[in-house]
Symmetry: C2
Subunit: 150 residues, 2 copies
DNA sequence: CCAATTCCTACCGGGCTGATAGAGATTATG
DNA sequence: CATAATCTCTATCAGCCCGGTAGGAATTGG
């Protein structure tokens, strides 16, 4: 499950992408309906990950560290929720063998975990803030959803 | 993240698929190194979902409710961890609108959630217990992993 | 100097996860 | 029938994580 925190982070990043300018935490929080003090921590995490930068003082605020086309959903999710894999033993960025798995290579479950990770990462690395902000928000998965108006 | 419980459930189901016969909780727990009393609850859940059946008394035990080719990873995971989607608003089986989302159709995040769900479900519905048990456990995702022996 | 902002650290309640416990129901076997 | 092996059910519990709050320190424009 996607954490609430991650959803907030995505919303904040998307807000910055839309605005294409620096914005204060207060402004972001108000617009995206995010608890202000909570958002502070989130922005700090995104800053630590190098996704956004900040300026202090009046007229200060946060802004994207690079073009919205270059910031992917995968990057945002990873810096908040950690690895995308369903289990550490299937993680690309933070591999760790299962505690209770006799041998990693003979595990009957791991191939599935790897497959899921691969497809998920492929997808998430392919979606940028810019892509999500541009266009009616349906193009991504609507292509094979024919005529479902409900 | 995949819960420990779900991993136990998969292991138990795979054990039954391998054995192709009924097995007691004690036997399953011993072989797959699962806490016995915990496994009891898991088997009950799988039974409630119709994946396995049981017989009581001595010589009793659990057995798959249908051929291992017809039981998918998706089914096992769903009956333990609930919906596969990353968020309720993207769930196929348990849809529920986001609490803090002005409008479901204008959400900039949901298309991603739907896409992830689609690919994940497609994959997980495609892996049966039989498939996971047959063959060296790599074929599923090794096809594009050329020569990586580490 | 003052006020607006980011930065940092600590804290906390509630729910979920991963168990453990024990009693009850069912059924082969001697 | 008695026994023992099994499944079935419900309660309980400790620890952790999630979502959120709090308060103050540092920075900087006006």
């Amino acid at each position: 499950m996607l954490s609430q925190k991650a959803r907030y982070a995505l919303n904040a990043a998307l807000y910055l992408a839309r605005k294409n300018d620096s914005a204060s935490i207060t402004a972001i929080a108000a617009d995206r309906e995010i608890p202000r003090k909570f958002l502070e921590q989130i922005m700090l995490q995104m800053k630590a990950a190098g996704l956004v930068r900040s300026r202090r003082g009046p007229t200060g605020g946060y802004y994207l560290a690079s073009a919205p086309e270059t910031i992917t959903f995968a990057a945002v999710l990873r810096c908040i929720d950690g690895p995308l894999a369903l289990a550490p033993c299937a993680s690309f960025t933070a591999y760790e063998p299962c505690s209770s798995c006799k041998s990693v290579t003979s595990c009957e479950i791991r191939p599935m975990l790897l497959a899921v990770r691969d497809t998920t990462v492929l997808l998430l690395e392919g979606i940028s803030l810019a892509a999500a902000v541009a266009e009616p928000p349906s193009m991504l998965s609507e292509e094979k959803r024919a005529g479902g108006s409900a």
